[in-house]
């Protein structure tokens, strides 16, 4: 091939490349991270990159974890349909889609209607640790404690969101959301999280025995970002979009 031929071919290629209009790239981040978080949950919480040479052992661990999780879920009838959708990503959280019609739910309640006011010291005692406060949002307008089945939960009330914190490892919270709710799997501080964007939905609280805690059922009419940190379980209820909820989460110590 002569130099002139090569130049012509390269020119045609350059023109074709300049003219290439690709479909818009998909937003892969959330989907990839959701798959990785699911893999991690199935593998007992270990990062995939750390598994490498111990795949056989971890496969057995994952199977064991899955078996325990399935057994736990099976003990709670309302949670069964959630298995396929959000299996085990955030421990103690189950979501059941299409189980409620928002217009049939009772009016939502605010913390001052079902929880008792408290100070930070009492809240810290309830948590068994210093209460983590989001750094960029000042002092909470209200601090509340509610005990579900003897299990204490702290609610920090801010102008645009409520932040729930608790230490419980053994309870299960079931969200019954309408069919058109937007559910997504996110990451908060490197951990899997759920984002629920919905009209009104119902929250039920189950004890370690699988029995629903009386008086704990309530209606929520705001979005929620839910995740489990190193020690505590967090829940942000807000009318703000996901990005703003993530900002709140990011400002926690």
């Amino acid at each position: 091939m002569t130099d002139a031929d090569r130049a012509r071919v390269e020119r045609l290629l350059a023109e074709a490349a300049r003219g290439a209009a690709y479909p818009p790239p998909p937003a892969l981040r959330a989907r990839v991270l959701a798959s990785l978080a699911a893999e991690r949950a199935r593998a007992g919480g270990r990062p995939a990159v750390a598994r490498g040479r111990r795949r056989t052992v971890l496969t057995a661990v994952a199977a064991l974890v899955a078996a325990f999780a399935l057994a736990a879920v099976a003990a709670i009838p309302p949670a069964r349909t959630a298995v396929a959708e959000f299996f085990g990503l955030v421990a103690g959280e189950r979501i059941e889609r299409g189980a409620v019609v928002p217009s049939n739910l009772p009016a939502p309640a605010r913390p001052d209607q079902f929880a008792r006011p408290a100070g930070l010291t009492e809240a810290a005692a309830a948590l068994g640790a210093e209460v983590p406060l989001p750094a960029d949002y000042g002092t909470p307008e209200g601090i509340f404690i509610v005990a579900y089945g003897g299990h204490p939960l702290v609610i920090l009330q801010y102008p645009t969101f409520d932040l729930w914190e608790t230490r419980g490892e053994s309870f299960v919270v079931v969200k019954r959301v309408p069919a058109d709710a937007i559910l997504s799997i996110e990451t908060v501080r490197g951990r899997p999280a759920y984002w629920i964007e919905s009209r009104a939905y119902e929250v039920r609280f189950f004890g370690p025995d699988g029995v629903e805690v009386l008086g704990a059922r309530r209606t929520v009419d705001r979005h929620a970002l839910i995740w489990r940190g190193e020690e505590l379980y967090y829940r942000i209820e807000t009318e703000l979009p996901l990005g703003a909820a993530r900002d709140v989460a990011a400002s926690l110590p």
Binding site: M1, D5, R6, A7, R8, V9, E10, R11, L12, L13, A14, E15, A16, A17, R18, G19, A20, A21, Y22, P23, P25, P26, A27, L28, R29, R31, V32, L33, S35, L36, A37, R40, R46, P47, A48, V49, A50, G52, T187, R189, G190, R191, P192
Partner: protein, 187 residues
């Protein structure tokens, strides 16, 4: 990268965001199907995450990711035997160099014809041409992306150019003449 290798999902999310556009383009070019390219990219990033422990620190990440994605895309193409789909979309594009509507139309038509002729090349030839001319990768990164030495990339590119020239001459000889007229017009 260090945080991602340590298992920080947010850090890996940053890598996905940074490279998803180029990975998607590469997958589109090879599969010629946007939906397939999307699946290929997602699977590519998942495989990359599983293989992070094998990635050598200090090496460029882009060609390493593209190698994973283009391998998957090639497998996808082979398994499904996809036909032209993207070519139509690519042909609708408006080249940035054309100055008037008529020249823009001519250039768009020429682009579509070039892409159509390229489909007659072996996949290995198309890959190096896509990586070099459509994704603007330097030869060193192409070498990583296709798992060959830099010298091999040079010879493969040269061979691909020659084959493309031959295919154009056989299938659409007017293209070469038009390319010549374009040179004259630019001069």
């Amino acid at each position: 990268m260090r945080a991602a290798r340590a298992g920080d999902l947010d850090a890996f999310g940053g890598i996905v965001e940074r490279y998803q556009a180029v990975a998607f383009r590469a997958a589109c070019l090879v599969t010629r199907d946007a939906a397939a390219a999307e699946d290929v990219c997602q699977e590519g990033f998942l495989r990359a995450h599983r293989a992070l422990h094998r990635f050598r620190a200090g090496e460029p990440l882009r060609p390493w990711l593209l190698r994973i994605v283009t391998n998957l895309a090639r497998n996808e193409l082979r398994s499904r035997g996809r036909r032209l789909g993207l070519v139509t979309r690519l042909g609708r594009a408006t080249p940035g160099v054309a100055s008037g509507p008529e020249r823009a139309l001519e250039a768009a038509e020429r682009s579509a014809r070039v892409l159509a002729v390229m489909q007659r090349l072996p996949i290995a030839d198309r890959e190096v041409l896509y990586l070099r001319h459509f994704l603007d990768l330097p030869e060193a990164e192409i070498a990583t992306a296709i798992g060959k030495r830099r010298g091999t990339v040079k010879s493969r590119l040269s061979r691909a150019h020659a084959r493309l020239r031959d295919v154009i001459a056989a299938q659409d000889p007017e293209l070469l003449a038009e390319g010549t007229r374009g040179e004259a017009a630019d001069d």
